[in-house]
């Protein structure tokens, strides 16, 4: 039986004839935590936004939970969620009001308890009556994560989830995500420039360059393949060396 939660098939996105994502194919199994890595402009966020239906692919198909995203978007979106360090909830509402609104939009059962639980574990309970617009970026990020976990998603997409968090909260966030993943067998796709996130969370990583996957495997496999002692080294080599890109794309083909 096919255990794939996500299937991305020959996905291409061109903006003004410039390919940002280029014939990308990959799949993610149930319960996997996959890191989507790459330098700025590699196509990670565009790929993620296509998986949320926010950007229309030029070519290719995305299947989530076995359904075609284009034709069954709302059915799919009900079972997944997304958080990014670069978004916020409505500034003119308190944290509690924002979460209540999204709990209703996602039709979360026992929403009161769920909100309480999430506010508690992300240590943002004292902020519940504050206007979201007045929060610091780190606080906003944690509230975003609460929103993203409201509907107990089967698939969670995270765009640099710890980018604006201090080391203590970032560590705590990784622990919470790992714990929730283990408890619910949640599938997570995570883009990050923080290699600690990748080391601690990801079962598998996909390295992207110029809209293509140029390397994939577990953290150990990737480091062994490139003869590096750290993921940072691999990251820098792949981001700066075009010959690796050409070689790896050929090999993967």
């Amino acid at each position: 039986m096919n255990n794939n939660i996500v299937e991305v098939i020959n996905l291409t996105k061109q903006f003004k004839n410039t390919p940002v994502v280029n014939d990308l194919s990959f799949s993610v199994s149930k319960g996997e935590i996959v890191g989507l890595l790459g330098a700025n402009g590699a196509g990670k966020t565009t790929t993620m936004h296509m998986m949320l239906g926010l950007i229309k692919p030029t070519y290719g198909q995305i299947k989530i939970f076995g359904h075609d995203l284009d034709s069954q978007k709302n059915k799919i979106l009900k079972r997944m969620n997304f958080a990014s360090a670069y978004q916020s909830l409505s500034h003119n509402f308190t944290v509690q009001e924002n979460l209540n609104i999204f709990a209703d939009i996602y039709e979360v059962e026992k929403s009161k308890q769920r909100i309480e639980y999430l506010l508690e574990i992300f240590e943002v309970s004292p902020l519940r009556n504050k206007l979201t617009g007045g929060l610091s970026s780190g606080e906003k990020t944690r509230v975003n994560l609460c929103k993203a976990l409201l509907n107990s998603p089967e698939l969670l997409l995270l765009d640099e989830p710890t980018a604006s968090l201090d080391p203590y909260i970032a560590d705590k966030t990784r622990q919470i995500l790992a714990q929730m993943q283990a408890e619910n067998n949640m599938t997570i796709i995570n883009t990050s420039h923080n290699m600690i996130d990748v080391h601690e969370l990801c079962h598998r990583i996909l390295f992207m360059q110029k809209g293509k996957i140029v390397a994939q495997g577990s953290v150990g496999e990737i480091m062994a393949k490139f003869g590096s002692e750290s993921l940072d080294e691999v990251y820098i080599s792949l981001s700066t060396n075009d010959s690796i890109y050409i070689e790896e794309v050929k090999t993967l083909k």
Binding site: K56, N74, F82, S88, H91, N92, F93, F102
Partner: protein, 263 residues
């Protein structure tokens, strides 16, 4: 799907008006200022020109009804503008709720706001100028509905521009109604316009609403000809606005505007 998401969106779109002093001022204060200014101007004109007393009620009725269309449009656009300003647009568009539900919530909030301001202005006009909107009678409901529909159409069109072009198009939210106002024969009969402008004016639903309104005030009876045209044109405008919105939404997805302006 239950009504729970729709209820949440209606709540969200209503509350954003109450949380900002500037929006609240825009919502309540400026319609009152409009009413006061136009009321005093028409009193003055009536006094110095010994014009027909009906000029006064024409003007007051026109300003009150015009606000209906303006409010209905603003409610739709500003809900989306607030999400863009808060960087919340992505959360809204990735929620498992169709665009139709978002629009329906905005329409309902637009209706409630238009109704609230309409009643408020009617009460103030009665207390301040002893002008009773009851002179229009029941057809007033049909005039109100036609202006509401037109407000919804303009709102949908402006929102399409907003999600496709972002903040740069926000000015149009305020400009479009004021561009349409002189063409819609709000404060004067369509006959005073040059012939070529009359042709354009008669293609706009509000023109028929205000012509109908003046006829009721002048003769005491409703001319169904104008109302029929207003309804027919409103159906066409609504279909056109829906098609344009759908096109602009798909273009926004194609060009990545939702993510560009939403984060």
């Amino acid at each position: 799907m239950t009504l729970r998401p729709l209820r949440a969106l209606i709540y969200k779109n209503s509350i954003i008006w109450l949380r900002s002093g500037f929006r609240l001022a825009d919502f309540v204060f400026f319609p009152m200022v409009d009413l006061a200014v136009w009321g005093f101007v028409t009193i003055y004109i009536s006094q110095i020109s010994h014009a027909l007393p009906s000029v006064f009620i024409f003007m007051l009725s026109a300003i009150i009804l015009w606000t209906v269309q303006f409010r209905a449009q603003q409610a739709i656009c500003l809900s989306f503008l607030d999400d863009i300003e808060s960087h919340n647009l992505l959360n809204i568009f990735i929620a498992p709720v169709g665009v139709v539900t978002h629009i329906a919530a905005c329409y309902l909030v637009g209706f409630l706001q238009a109704l609230f301001v309409f009643i408020l202005q009617a009460v103030v006009a009665y207390l301040g100028y002893s002008f009773s909107f009851a002179v229009i009678g029941l057809p007033c409901t049909l005039l109100f509905l036609n202006l509401l529909f037109m407000g919804w159409s303009i709102g949908l069109f402006s929102t399409g521009l907003l999600i496709r072009f972002g903040h740069t198009s926000a000015t149009l939210i305020w400009v479009i109604p004021f561009f349409l106002q002189p063409l819609s024969a709000v404060f004067y009969p369509v006959s005073v316009l040059p012939h070529w402008l009359q042709i354009i004016s008669l293609c706009l639903p509000p023109t028929h609403v205000f012509e109908g309104m003046r006829q009721i005030l002048a003769t005491g009876r409703m001319d169904w000809y104008h109302l029929q045209w207003a309804f027919l044109l409103n159906v066409l405008y609504m279909l056109f606005a829906s098609a344009i919105f759908k096109y602009l939404y798909e273009e926004a997805r194609k060009h990545g505007s939702l993510t560009k302006y939403g984060t």
